[in-house]
Symmetry: C2
């Protein structure tokens, strides 16, 4: 591999999609290359990536199954949100040295015409937070929980991937609403963190066999809101415990993303619908920027206030080294990360 290990001012390192994975992605599904840095035209800016966000939805973009967004083409750069610095500007709204959030992809350099950039100023304090607690995962947690889930004080809220980017925020926001919060996570260390640091009332380890029994014991008054970002056996444990009028915001199904075929029967589709009917449950999928992008300011103000007051704890799992990106992403899909996964692609100033 001739791709430079560090970010340079002369080459554009890129992670390309080499092949569509069948099941779990492997390193060979990606190609790490270096090309020339693109040249911005009039009305465009050249962006240099400092932090890249890795998120479960990217698995969907690697497949060509019909989805809400176009798949990444073979040999195209993998998509993703990033925190970038404006290196060159031919756009009147942006000046060099300014930081922005951009959908820049898995690469050192990208060109933008200025649409869909979020300004972070010249000297942002914690710029990578714009990819997590103050960005897409934060908005997902906030809107999915509050707008679709509508938790009431005293109700029981359950969330999977409890120490992940979204789940950790869902649980903490639910605590701020006065709810009882039960998390589900993989491993004792994460569970302890959810309770001790994030303040969840309980957190169960889904790697143990008796998840359904334990969840029933902890949720002794049933479940009013299940924030669904996992699916699979976590949902199976939740389903029988849902109360009448329960709400299920549905933002992800990470346990299913690597599945190559449907599970064996029986076919529980009618069982699920029967439960939704009998218990008068609302289940609603959402794609955060499509459905709630227009409410970003409202979210951002609330979250910044909570952060300033110390009411929200935020944990980043920061990978140093852009060459680690594919491995880190593969690990994300099996829960190897602990906190919001972010790749440090380059230095603050090159």
């Amino acid at each position: 591999m001739t791709t430079p290990v560090s970010q340079t001012a002369t080459k554009n390192r890129q992670w390309l999609l080499a092949s569509r994975p069948v099941g779990a992605p492997t390193i060979s599904d990606f190609n790490f290359v270096a090309t020339d840095i693109p040249t911005p035209k009039e009305g465009e800016v050249l962006l240099r990536t400092v932090y890249l966000s890795l998120d479960p939805y990217m698995r969907g973009r690697m497949s060509d199954a019909k989805s809400y967004a176009e798949p990444v083409a073979i040999n195209d750069v993998m998509v993703g949100g990033a925190v970038c610095v404006v290196e060159k500007s031919h756009h009147s709204d942006y000046s060099e040295g300014e930081w922005v959030v951009a959908f820049a992809g898995w690469q050192d350099y990208s060109v933008s015409d200025g649409t869909n950039l979020l300004k972070l100023g010249k000297n942002p304090t914690m710029p990578s937070y714009a990819l997590g607690v103050l960005g897409m995962p934060g908005l997902t947690a906030y809107m999915g929980l509050l707008d679709i889930g509508q938790p009431q004080a005293g109700e029981t809220v359950v969330v999977g991937a409890a120490t992940g980017a979204v789940g950790s925020l869902v649980g903490q926001i639910a605590k701020l609403q006065g709810c009882k919060v039960v998390g589900i996570a993989g491993g004792a260390e994460k569970c302890e963190f959810a309770v001790q640091t994030l303040g969840f009332d309980a957190c169960l380890d889904h790697t143990r066999d008796d998840l359904a029994a334990q969840l029933a014991q902890v949720c002794d008054a049933g479940i009013n809101v299940y924030f669904e970002n996992v699916g699979g056996k976590v949902f199976d444990a939740v389903l029988p415990l849902l109360n009448s009028k329960a709400r299920i915001p549905l933002c992800g199904l990470i346990s299913q993303y690597n599945a190559t075929q449907l599970p064996d029967g029986p076919d529980r589709l009618s069982l699920l619908m029967g439960n939704l009917l009998i218990k008068r449950i609302k289940m609603q999928g959402f794609i955060v920027f499509d459905d709630y992008g227009h409410r970003y300011q409202e979210f951002s103000q609330a979250m910044q206030a909570w952060l300033a007051e110390g009411k929200i704890h935020y944990r980043e799992d920061r990978v140093e080294g852009f060459e680690q990106t594919a491995a880190a992403f593969i690990g994300l899909l099996t829960g190897q990360n602990f906190g919001k996964l972010v790749v440090r692609v380059g230095p603050d100033a090159l």
Copy 2:
């Protein structure tokens, strides 16, 4: 059988639940008996049933599976809504000869303390309408479609059991909202009725093999609202055609009520959830009187106005003879009825 064929002033005919059906109910699951007429105490009224409503939800009450309502006990009277006349009153709010809607059950005579009675006056014009277009099925159609489904002009609305009590109203209300309406019904005669008389844009016959292909052809712009009261293969045909942001009010699953076990695999539970996620769909179960009973007046005014203006067509399938009740109910579960199923239990005046 010594039970009188006609309603009398001396005996109370009753349909009891004899045994819990496994699969489709049979006549032997019911017992048609005659007992003494109950005596109302102070503060109570004696009601005589004139019309009895037969509705799919009653199948659920015959089972002891956990549901939103208690099952009917073995040897208890089958439950159901009815239009009744007050025969004796020891209650200051009710006088003899007054008509009411009551949850009187499958019997000639019942006693009420006056709670949950809906007054219809002394000389109602079409009293049986209070069991259909102006009653529970009407409220179900109106609230499920408008409050959960929120159809917009130009959108495509699909409804199963298209000539049934609920489906026929869903489609007509959707037409009044400016929607394209596609019904699904069993048999050519019902489909023709849905288009010619109810004004649906199209109606497909689910007894034909090519339902999925035909539905895809008719719904050439996809489906925005699917009002779910059927389930099974109708839902299977609808699922791939649902548009982004589709809404699925879920009020019934009549095709599943007689099922004794889940269908063979694969297990499509995750497939359904994946579709809800990717397409940002809302699916919401509701039980009409629990969720919308407080909005009955709003519904009633709108529906009476539509009826008066001739904008809503309402078809009753009236069974003459209380002794036919169980057979008629069994037929309802397989779509033998054509319109809202009502039993004439007794004469207007005895």
